[in-house]
Amino acid sequence: MLRFLTTFVVLLIALFAINLTQPVQEHFVLPWTELLARICVALVTQFDATAIANGKVLYNATTGFGVSIEPGCNGIEAFIVLVAAVVAFPAPWGRKLLGIVIGFVAIQAVNVVRVISLFYLGQWNMAVFNFAHEYLWQALIMLDVLVVWLLWVRANPGRLGAVAAA
């Protein structure tokens, strides 16, 4: 447990620091955030033709209301937590890679729901938007990370599971 915790914390800090560097922000984070906005627009325009994306901002072309996808809302930090937790847990590297890939999809799927829900909540009621944006969705995204990790741990209990079952 101590080894897992130590590895997790060290990885988390390292990945977080790398994430904040200019090259990573410029070449990975910002392009991903813009793609996320376009994905959200592609989904929203299935039933709402007024939505457009401009960079990392999702706009309503009629009202002018928009949500800008900023650090903390692009799912990257949550993904970093998952990567650190998966890599720190003792399991074969192939299983870890699979968990990371599936985890990225799972986290971003919920993140898309977050962005779209905030887009409409903001147009409806700002107090509810602020509640959902600043508190509720932050917690739900971390619950999503926990969901993915626990499911992956259950699928890969390995040596720790054998010890627990003994």
């Binding site: 904040l20 930090e77 509720l136 619950l143 926990l146």
Partner: protein, 211 residues
């Protein structure tokens, strides 16, 4: 049973999701007062470790205000003189306090008995993480809130990067990660049951060894 162990992971997550929604909505109504322990701890940390940048701290319910040593020069007046003042920064103390409803939601969702001393330590850790978030939020405002703030405080480039990293971690990671880690420690038996369930699933999987 509401507080019994959930029969499955799916039930745990549904319980947790609902509990997060309900408890966070309830927390918002009392957040200002629930943040007082973290606000007190933050003030204590500011006054004992922040002499380099903290001139004075003022606390009121829901808000911490710091009068910093960073000097700010205003626009020149008609005589050409530029007024000089201290940079004053503040933070809403409840801002990063949603760790508490998240921790309680996970504890409720997992059900079962809890150790009181672990609960106590867990709550202290959540309060400490909340205080750290507030501290770095104020420090970031002091360093970046006025031109030349870092230079005035005698901070080198790596120190400034460290403060930026601390702020990002304090805002983006600590409020949600701390309660999850605390919960995993308090409810270790729940995590062990997940591992055991995994082992048992592997043992009865088609084509697996029966043992």
């Amino acid at each position: 049973m509401l507080f019994g162990r959930p029969a499955s992971l799916a039930r745990f997550f549904v319980r947790a999701g609902v509990a997060i929604f309900v408890l966070t909505a309830l927390w918002v109504t009392a957040a200002r007062w629930l943040a007082e322990p973290a606000a007190w701890l933050t003030r204590f940390a500011l006054e004992t470790t922040g002499s380099r940048w903290v001139k004075a701290v003022q606390a009121e319910p829901g808000k911490l205000t710091v009068d910093t040593w960073v000097v700010v020069r205003g626009e020149a007046d008609a005589t050409g003189r530029r007024p000089v003042g201290d940079l004053v920064v503040d933070v809403a103390t409840y801002k990063y306090g949603y760790s508490l409803p998240l921790l309680l939601a996970l504890l409720l969702a997992a059900g079962g008995r809890k150790s009181w001393w672990r609960l106590g330590i867990g709550l202290l850790l959540v309060v400490a993480a909340h205080a750290a978030s507030l501290y770095f939020a104020l420090l970031r405002l002091a360093v970046f809130g006025a031109p030349g703030g870092a230079a005035q405080l005698g901070l080198g480039p790596w120190q400034v990067e460290g403060i930026a990293l601390g702020y990002q971690a304090g805002v983006l990671l600590l409020p949600t990660l701390t309660p999850v880690m605390v919960w995993l420690w308090i409810d270790r038996e729940f995590l062990a049951s997940i591992l055991i369930d995994g082992v048992l699933r592997q043992r009865v999987a088609p084509g697996g060894d029966a043992s």
